[in-house]
Symmetry: C2
Subunit: 255 residues, 2 copies
């Protein structure tokens, strides 16, 4: 089995920490990476403050194969991610000719004034390569194993298209989800622990949900690289649920 | 001005990192704490792995006034948060008499078998006090400045009711949000930077949204403790938006 390929997601922005905005980038980045065999192993959310960003970037880039940052690369005074990345890597930052060309053209076409604030978006840490932004022009950038993306989800989605080809993937894990509506974790815990001990190549997880007494249950997840073992695990999970008098709802995917 | 009171939220669970589940606990904890003058300054999501949990708990509890963990306190083999907290604090863990009493009664009332797996939920690190769970019985617990809560959002919400009275709040910050549909950050960046320099007690933020070319805009946020300054900042933000030919959408709240 090859070495696992891991990623960390670092979300930058007071608005997520305050609860005003609910993040969706972690989910979309994780789901983009899974089919490549890259799993997100940690995520952090920090404030728009340089020391916090620098410390997190430097911890995470040493620990995981790839790091993705989101947020803080726009034209306003609180957009400080590019400078923070430069500090984290100990390099200078200045206007990148290609980024400047992209932005100049973009605003010319739109008939919008290319203000000094907008021009800040051309500032890129030295040694970084650009990441195309098909939505609004202003590029992200890659610095070694760190990919700096926008914060707006639609733009992140677009930028990922110019990121995928730069990543070296790993072995793709597959997962099976067996949903058991009406059951509680305790109904299945012993049997699940037994399976987790028994299967060497499959890991088992259990995630309860509870929205109301009528809408509650458990999602059992089996995850692994070996197809045959995973199929067998799926059948055993489904049998566990049926043994409790419930009909399992089964879904499969990359994970 | 009093010392700022800060919190960190540590979410424990592979299912959030994989993107299968989209977290909502960060948002509900942040919104619960804001009216007490406690602001969430950092959040992390780690895997269901003891070393990752222990390291994060110990880093965060030294750095912030309060830490809230979510997830991993159920009856299944992958519920390892209580043990991880015990390791983080260097204390033993065993069945807590009051927790055992609550669980025994609960399962007796429900006519459900109180299995060994369910009994695991009575294991509490030594020195911790219980946090009541009005939804499903199994308690969370407080260990010094660390509050260990469930992962299911409805249960987290219930547990917070038994947490609030234990917290010492800070000065409550208020925020004003001025939404400008149809504008882009670059239209307002220079004026916003000027305001941010000019106002000593108000901080300004700018958060673009983009769902489609027709549904895009910028949310301008002003945040501070002084009512009069904040009112003035609100009026200036609204005027900026009107100067660009758009009608601002204004909301106020604690933050």
């Amino acid at each position: 089995m090859s070495k696992p390929v891991t990623a960390a997601v670092l979300m930058i922005g007071d608005e997520i920490l305050s609860g005003r905005t609910r993040d969706i980038n972690l989910q979309q980045i994780a789901q983009y990476l899974a089919p490549m065999g890259i799993s997100v192993a940690e995520a952090r959310i920090v404030r728009d403050e340089q020391p916090a960003i620098v410390a997190a970037v430097n911890e995470l880039r040493g620990r995981y194969t790839y790091v993705f940052t989101t947020g803080g690369i726009g034209p306003t005074h609180d957009d400080i991610t590019a400078d923070a990345i430069a500090v984290a890597f100990g390099v200078d930052i200045s206007e990148h000719p290609e980024a400047l060309r992209i932005l100049t053209e973009r605003y010319e076409e739109a008939g919008t004034e290319f203000t000094p604030a907008r021009r800040r978006m051309a500032r890129i840490p030295h040694g970084a390569s650009l990441i195309a932004n098909p939505v609004s022009g202003a590029p992200g950038f890659q610095m070694e194993n760190v990919f700096t993306l926008a914060g707006v989800p639609a733009i992140v989605r677009g930028m990922l298209e110019d990121v995928g080809h730069r990543l070296e993937g790993g072995e793709v894990a597959r997962s099976v989800t067996v949903k058991a509506k009406g059951l509680r974790e305790g109904d299945l815990a012993e049997a699940l622990a037994r399976l987790d001990t028994e299967y060497k190549t499959v890991s088992f997880g259990s995630y309860p949900w509870y929205r109301s007494p009528e809408d509650s249950g458990v999602s059992l997840i089996a995850r692994g690289h070996e197809r045959a073992a995973l199929d067998k695990a799926r059948d055993e999970l489904a049998a566990l649920v049926r043994a409790q008098g419930r009909e399992p709802d089964i879904a499969e995917g990359e994970s």
